[in-house]
């Protein structure tokens, strides 16, 4: 079952509908409720390898629903320290719990100052309202 619309206060957001949870120089990344709702039930997650690097504003993977495929954009740069294998096996986890079990990757930040450019929850909600 898909989750109800929500945007947790403690996360930072990217305009490509990605979120970042920042803790101790690392960030867990995923796609927002808005992104999973726009795609519909996910059936495939093309995840990168652990150890690879991701670059802010560039694609690091793909998520696909029955009807559509979308790049996943990195909100921050860094080295991948963990990939959520669960969403590769069960992509619908992203729809069910986009900020919890549906996380995609965790990275070690290469430039923590990039965080300043991300939106806080109010700014992201305002951005969505303009869409």
């Amino acid at each position: 079952m898909a989750a109800a619309e929500s945007y947790p206060d403690e996360l930072r957001y990217h305009e490509q509908h990605d979120w970042a949870r920042i803790e101790d120089g690392e960030a867990t990344l995923g796609i927002t409720w808005f992104a999973q709702d726009a795609l519909g039930e996910l059936v495939h997650v093309e995840a990168p390898e652990e150890g690879a690097t991701v670059t802010k504003d560039e694609s690091y993977g793909e998520v696909e629903s029955v009807k559509a495929v979308s790049d996943v954009i990195a909100p921050l740069s860094g080295e991948i320290v963990a990939v959520n294998a669960k969403v590769v096996d069960e992509p619908e986890r992203v729809n069910e719990d986009p900020y919890g079990e549906g996380w995609l990757i965790r990275i070690r930040l290469s430039d923590p100052s990039e965080v300043d450019a991300l939106l806080d929850v109010d700014a992201y909600r305002a951005f969505l309202a303009e869409q």
Partner: protein, 351 residues
């Protein structure tokens, strides 16, 4: 160019049900309600209803209606009696497919053609230009609503009489007069109910009240692809011929119709390429337009909700078209392995 999208007689019901609406062939149509996968499963396991009122209906009537259509449609219309229906093709001089359609014989001198929404005007013009004295061709699309009610429990839930596929009868559903057509596009048993446009919304309500799950165009596409029914514009076009597309069975080559000589020649020499159904052996979803590494490209591709893997169809060289032949699809730069299968890609085991 901005253009006003057309709306079916059931449009308000889709909005009320919270459907996601998308432009399709000039219409504003529901692509999904709850989700493609649950809707797909409802049709495979029980009963779903699709509003397909956007499809075109062309009425061909007159003492020479049969003669006109026998000369324009690929299948043998002599084999259709009043009360019967037939899957057939409108072909061009090169043997290409102008459209695929179902013809219903209403009475000895009257036929109803149900055609793809995207080809409604083309088909109508095509027939109209070739009209002969004693045949009258009319586009009656706006007069009717059409609901496809499909699934193993569709007939039981509707309480309509059971009847063989490719027949039709006049009927009534909870007070709404309908033409009950035993046809569909899902690979399941079911009917397509045609009613006057003004009765469309009420018919929808009656069908929903009988337990059908509302389904959108998303599930319609995954269902038809699992069943290996071609989609005109993707898998078959005016540039592709029915022999290569595996639709030779719809072409009565012993009758005379537009393009038949070209089709006889293709059949005699054997097609150079064939439309092959395939499944992926790697986790990847083929999409329309992706290259097939062995030559050709994907004409339809999606995720199969029943099999849980990527599936598709595409034209490949005849030597690569046999079931079991391996192929690779170029998925955004990465070759992904799959293999050709027999039609249909998925068929439910009868209980």
């Amino acid at each position: 160019m901005p253009q006003t999208l057309l709306r079916t007689p059931v449009y308000d019901r889709h909005v009320e049900a919270g459907a996601r609406l998308v432009p399709f062939a000039g219409w504003e149509m529901p692509v999904q309600y709850e989700g493609v996968i649950p809707e797909h499963r409802a049709v495979r396991e029980d009963c779903g209803v699709f509003d397909v009122s956007h499809m075109g209906e062309i009425d061909v009537e007159g003492p020479r209606a049969h003669e006109l259509l026998q000369g324009l449609l690929s299948n043998d219309l002599d084999r259709v009696d009043p009360g019967g229906a037939q899957y057939t093709l409108l072909t061009n001089e090169r043997g290409g497919i102008v459209d695929d359609l179902i013809v219903y014989r209403l009475d000895p001198h009257r036929y109803l053609l149900v055609v793809n929404a995207s080809n409604r005007e083309t088909d109508f013009e095509w027939l109209r230009e070739r009209e002969i004295r004693g045949s009258d061709v009319r586009d009656v699309s706006d007069e009717y609503a059409l609901l496809a009610v499909q699934g193993p429990r569709a007939i039981e839930r509707l309480g309509v009489p059971d009847a063989p596929p490719f027949t039709w009868q006049e009927g009534e559903l909870d007070g709404v007069e309908v033409m009950v057509n035993y046809t569909g596009y899902t690979g399941e048993r079911g009917v397509e109910l045609m009613a006057m446009a003004d009765d469309g919304a009420e018919l929808w309500d009656r069908v929903i009240a009988r337990g059908a799950v509302p389904c959108g165009l998303g599930a319609r596409d995954t269902l038809r692809l699992e069943a290996c029914y071609p989609l005109h514009g993707n898998d078959i076009t005016p540039e592709t011929d029915p022999i290569s597309a595996g639709l030779g069975w719809t072409c009565a080559l012993d009758t005379e119709f537009t393009g038949v000589e070209e089709l006889r020649a293709i059949k005699d020499r054997g097609p150079e390429r064939r439309l092959a159904p395939f499944v992926m052996d790697e986790k990847a979803i083929p999409r329309q337009g992706m290259p097939i590494v062995e030559g050709g490209e994907v004409t339809s591709g999606t995720y199969s909700p029943m099999l849980g893997i990527g599936i598709g169809m595409g034209y490949v060289g005849t030597e690569h078209s046999q079931p079991g032949s391996e192929l690779s699809v170029d998925v955004r730069g990465t070759p992904r392995r799959g293999h050709v299968v027999t039609k249909p890609i998925y068929k439910r085991e009868e209980a």
